[in-house]
Symmetry: C2
Subunit: 413 residues, 2 copies
Amino acid sequence: MNGLVEISKHIRLVRTMFNPEKRKRIPLSEPLLYGNEKEWVLRCLESNWVSSSGPFVEQFEDEIAQSVNAPHKKSVVTASGTAALHLALLTAGVKPGELVLVPTLTFIATVNAINYVGAEPLFFGSDSRLCMDLNSLEEFLQNECRKEGAHFVHKSSSRRISAVMPVHVLGFTVDVFRLRSLFTDSSVAILEDAAESMGSLVKSPITNDWVTSGTIGDLGCYSFNGNKIITSGGGGSIVGNNQEWLKRCKYLANQAKDDALFFEHHSVGYNYRMTSLEAALGIAQLKNLSTSIERRTRIHLQYRNHLKNADNVEVIEGLSTEQPNYWLTAVRIKNWNLDQLRSGIFKLQELGIEARPVWTLNHTQAPYRKCATFKPQSSEADYPKILCIPSSSNLTEEEVGFVADNVVRIAAH
Amino acid sequence: MNGLVEISKHIRLVRTMFNPEKRKRIPLSEPLLYGNEKEWVLRCLESNWVSSSGPFVEQFEDEIAQSVNAPHKKSVVTASGTAALHLALLTAGVKPGELVLVPTLTFIATVNAINYVGAEPLFFGSDSRLCMDLNSLEEFLQNECRKEGAHFVHKSSSRRISAVMPVHVLGFTVDVFRLRSLFTDSSVAILEDAAESMGSLVKSPITNDWVTSGTIGDLGCYSFNGNKIITSGGGGSIVGNNQEWLKRCKYLANQAKDDALFFEHHSVGYNYRMTSLEAALGIAQLKNLSTSIERRTRIHLQYRNHLKNADNVEVIEGLSTEQPNYWLTAVRIKNWNLDQLRSGIFKLQELGIEARPVWTLNHTQAPYRKCATFKPQSSEADYPKILCIPSSSNLTEEEVGFVADNVVRIAAH
């Protein structure tokens, strides 16, 4: 880097640091509206179909299914990604006291959904891309479980394992093809938490085709929360290979109405419907999903370029068998500990940079501290080093540079 | 009624019956948009605050609190009325295995919320306005319960009664003042299900003031679903006298974030947030709440007038101590049984009239058949006679007349 560039950067940094009023806040991940949202939302209002009935919900379901090339061309939209996960666990028949295998490194919603059905999470560590470590999962199944017919039973607790929830963290993708092979001919449901990975692709080892994350397991759940790559305000959706389960998700999301006129209900249902207004916004946003992925990919590449010579800072990258949607770019600061992470984050926040750690590991959260784990040490070791950095679809290269420079500066202390 | 009017009515009926293409469907209760919704929703889109953060949610919460004159000037908005009920039960500390007293005549959402927290409903019958029968509740507490300190314990099951959920059915109001006096100095939480009674008033026997339903118990829950008197697409809100509980509702509705930056969670939370888009719609609709109540009151009075001479058909009316919002008008057809109810409804549906029974009684629904009851016979006897009739805020007097005439005609067979 030549001296002049270095000096001009330094001036910019200093100027920003000492002129707080000139600082623009750079959010982690905010919604980007492309302009067509107005038209769709107005169309919805004009139709009077503002609630959960009507054509917008169905259209959004159809277009999601098309967009991710969903099995059976079907998706079910829900009030939130959390609702989608809860419905997936319910329809998979996960029972109180059974075990659900899940990474400890994920937003707590994944784990709360397990709690809602009365089951117990069993936590795993993560690999280089922050996703559930399938090597230790394989080891766990071989050494810590016994097979009873189609069922996996955890030897030490004698509990049945009823589901596994791979989480596609930050848009990276768990190798669900490999995961599936670990559970061949078993009763264990594979429920993908694809909240962060709408549009991420995984290479099928069978066909060599690129397949969309969320569509490989029995069910897969997306989120359209405001911080996600596209948004419907709030909301989620479910896709998957098990068509009967998808039907049941739809049924349970609408208070399990067996007879809508006479209000007969054979099951305990939920109000997990998406509204038409949200669906209309979602339809508009979905039309720009590929643009948003392109933009976030470009931002990721810009960060990679800006940080390529930083000794201490490593951009977290995917594997050759995946095309992440790059929802969030994260870096690993190799020598950081928890104190450095905390102080680094506060320093960046002071500069208007909304950087964040990944989530406090779930096996250390109060409600789940007593739950079983298997080799969570990989996540424990990685957690203090990981910093999620601003990745909104409308981030400018200048902002990327500003964030990258400050991350390097703060990582050096 | 004079002969000419009679003949002209008859001609109109016959014409409609034999010209199906001329029939306009008359829905039970559809949203009425007043025009200001566009402005608010566009304002929301333009602000980029489309998700669950931002000023629209707070403004809606403030304006709801103001509109119902809520204790502490506070309300918490939620993703649905069901979510509001669930949060109310959670924050009231209702535990698995405990009993919650509830009318059998209500939409199943009330009862499902009890199921979500693992508690057991105990079902009561209803009075002349379809609301929980407080006389039998009083009898139940005297004869079937014992007091252990502040706790009511159900003698035959030895279970503790932890909450009572009066439901303000169709906009009529349970006398929560009387209810409260039955539970003086007890640990039983009073959680009003005011989903259908936004804006209904009850006369306080203490001050003689008119008080809004939902604000008298410990917590009260409204719904803004599409079929309600005003709508935010979907959504609900919670108000009430227990300020600590309201804070906890807000906390639990947002995944129980104790530290939003470091994602620390000391409790199991939920994603029960309302989106800004819904809040913006709700703000616009709330401005017309009193107009909607006036319109539905006028419709109710028109029905009353049209049906005043019908021998067999009685419009269900409130007491002198309440001002219902008249969300839905319902009639009681005195000699009807279940078969007549079913065939009557189908005949009305064929004419494009969306008439409906009240809800299949919850103590007869598959998930709750084994739950305890106390004198549900009043609801059992009433259920086959009750017909909910179209009550949308934009119903014309001609439509009211058409519905009323056909109800009379069909009730006579």
